[in-house]
Symmetry: C2
Subunit: 440 residues, 2 copies
């Protein structure tokens, strides 16, 4: 009786046993054999199959192997800063005296949300604590925004290259990502409005931007933001604005989508403390919107998962009281790194890297045949002075197949000495890489 | 130009202005007026509308109001234990010396997963660390199980009453919950297999059980589990087994679905440290399965959200080294509370409460017209000795409309003195409640 679902597989299996044996004699034995050796064929979901493997993390085993060969691997591949988490945050956790680590409010501790209001006010973002839902990282904020505002089959337009996990959360939410390509030759600025408008259909419900951008480092101007403001009003769309790198702008000034005069009801801000305070492991972010219907809807998703993590909120609340020069120091450091990285890259033969205005990423075009092959080759087959580098292949940030083949993303999360050493390594690598398109 | 989307609303608005005015003269002014006063009508998603408000938390403002009137409110409504989180867990967090709170492995720290293997071995569950993905609470474990194994429109069968958030995560995943009713007269034991089989369609992909059960406290027997083992083999289904209350069994022995001899590949275990160590706020759980295809698939969802929370893993790893008598003490306390609660309830006129074998919940049938009305009335209109009680209405745990109307859930998360006082209060309440069906 238990073997009923396996009969089709059994029948498929039979021909290889040979036709001379009696089917009747064989059948019960085969059933038992199949059941014991390989009892199930449970299918996973289609969306599970569709989910991409992390484009960055799939190189991780190769980096491990390189280290075991004795190489130093410069990790410029992932946005895990090397800056220490502020001591005040760690101390706040140590000083916690609550004897029970209880659920917090599903929207996050009220005390923390009140403090966040003062944080945002410093950035000319005027909101109330009830406009905030504290989330488990920006990850959850993105997912909740998709779930609350879009239905299965709806579309969100995102300038590409974009943060690869937007695609993953779109699969979770069953929505379609519609890319609009930004060009490295324009420094990855906002694509022309006509190009964005051409992508709008009756299923389009939102536009998503990351500002300053991961992976390009591009800092959108106030003018570009205002173009988007007009667009979301004209077509009645949401604007999801991921501003996790707000503090890290070099030269230009950050203009938040929540500063919109007319379209603030359209804006759902996605935020994170991961990069701001070098506290990625805490897993704390936020959704901020002045749209009450959206807040109330997303609150129901937040209630289902009960609450954001306790200690993270304790640490994050302490962070709001950090002196203003905390960011000055961190930003100065990132700025120095960016300057070295970009200068070194543009000093290499046939390499082009636009100067990014923010975050701690840069995308460069290299004279290579295929970035996935190149990044793999760096870890598997190359070394220079007993070092090599790990980079994020550009293709992982594009939705459009075939794009980004010659691009790689650099996260400048290492000190200047390491960045210089990594650049020495890259320069040498490009000289000897068999797939250098100018050497072939 | 910006007002195009609002014209339909404008037209709906016009009749109330009166037909004597010239439409042509009015139109531009109305557009401006509408745009300024109420510029948008952005729709939220259908699934956002479908998401239920938390059946427990919607009574929270009423409890707040009762407290402000000066009443003591006995909270028997929510599974937030009053037991202190083990000091060893809190100390481990305090002793953390890492200067950067980094992302962990997406599947959870390897050291923690190795320790979990020894934890499960003590419960006769033999797994490897690679069979585990550490999650942000059981909440995420449930969602990932749904996402990885089922597609939009697929069905999961769940005995009702069940934990209300299963329904919420089913909406997130776009799947259908098919309830099979268990009866309070049978102590909420597993419904007859024929009843479960009758619900199986070609869209059925899984059965979900919570053992010991929230909200009923029912502890499934080894025999019932083995019936389910046969069923999931026969119909090639997943069995999602939520065993978050594993430690809290009184009398009977817990039999885990991961102890199955034949169907272990069908089992996806959902786990949590929230109740085990009274550490709900940490937000840490796990998925455990011997099915490699499922682990690999769910790993992709785990990678998208980067990692589970850092401090929670530090605390949870320390918890594995707690002395075995930690659970003896906690369990003895819960056992004492259960005995008092159940005895007191069954001593009340027309009240029936089956004796639950595990967890820290009990469902009772009360002589009331409507549990939602009753729970509201307790907070709004009743007091006894300056106290009242907050309970979870039974209806919130049933998928089938109209069921559970006379039932309420008790979480025995208060000390015995408070439970006795709460029972005094309830006994009095039932005497005077206008909707007592035997008094009407």
């Amino acid at each position: 009786m238990h073997c009923i679902p396996y009969i089709p597989r059994l029948l498929a299996f039979l021909p290889c046993i040979g036709s001379t044996l009696s089917l009747c004699a064989l059948l019960p034995k085969c059933l038992v054999f199949l059941y014991i050796c390989n009892p199930i064929m449970l299918p996973i979901s289609n969306r599970g199959s569709l989910m991409p493997e992390s484009p960055i993390r799939k190189l991780a085993p190769l980096a491990e192997a390189a280290k075991q060969k004795g190489l130093t691997v410069y990790h410029l591949n992932i946005g895990q800063p090397d800056i220490a988490t502020p001591q005040a945050m760690i101390d706040a956790v140590k000083e916690n005296i609550s004897p029970i680590i209880e659920y917090s409010h599903s929207a996050g501790n009220e005390s923390y949300r009140h403090k966040l209001v003062s944080y945002y006010a410093k950035h000319a973002i005027n909101i109330q604590h009830s406009d905030i839902i504290v989330t488990t990282g920006a990850s959850e904020a993105i997912l909740f925004s998709f779930l609350g505002c879009l239905d299965v089959g709806d579309e969100v337009i995102i300038p590409e290259p974009f943060y690869a996990n937007y695609h993953a959360f779109a699969i979770v939410a069953g929505i379609k990502v519609i890319p609009v390509s930004s060009a490295i030759t324009d420094g990855f600025s906002l694509p022309a409005l006509a190009e964005i408008e051409a992508k709008i259909t009756d299923r389009t419900k939102a536009i998503l931007i990351c500002n300053p951008n991961n992976p390009t480092g591009y800092l959108y101007s106030e003018q570009e933001l205002k173009q988007l403001e007009n667009l979301v009003i004209k077509y009645n769309l949401y604007l999801f604005a991921d501003e996790a790198y707000r503090e890290f702008c070099y030269g230009g000034k950050h203009y938040s989508a929540l500063q919109f005069e007319h379209a603030s009801q359209h804006v759902v801000l996605v935020d994170s403390i991961s990069k701001r305070y070098s506290a990625c492991g805490l897993r704390l972010g936020a959704i901020v919107t002045k749209n009450k219907l959206v807040i109330n809807t997303i609150m129901k998703f937040a209630q289902a998962r009960l609450s954001p993590p306790y200690y993270a909120q304790v640490a994050a609340e302490a962070a709001i009281d950090l002196p203003d020069d905390y960011f000055t120091v961190t930003k100065t450091e990132y700025n120095k790194r960016r300057d070295i990285l970009v200068k070194r890259l543009n000093g290499m033969k046939d390499v082009f890297c636009p100067n990014p205005g923010g975050s701690f990423y840069a995308m460069a075009k290299l004279p290579i045949d295929n970035c996935d092959t190149f990044c793999t080759w760096l870890l598997n087959d190359f070394s220079y002075n007993n070092t090599t580098i790990m980079l994020a292949p550009g293709t992982g940030f594009y939705e459009t197949k075939g794009m980004g083949l010659q691009e790689v993303r650099f996260a400048y999360v290492l000190n200047t000495e390491s960045i210089n050493a990594a650049m020495d390594c890259l320069e040498e690598a490009l000289k000897v890489y068999p797939g250098n398109v100018n050497n072939i």
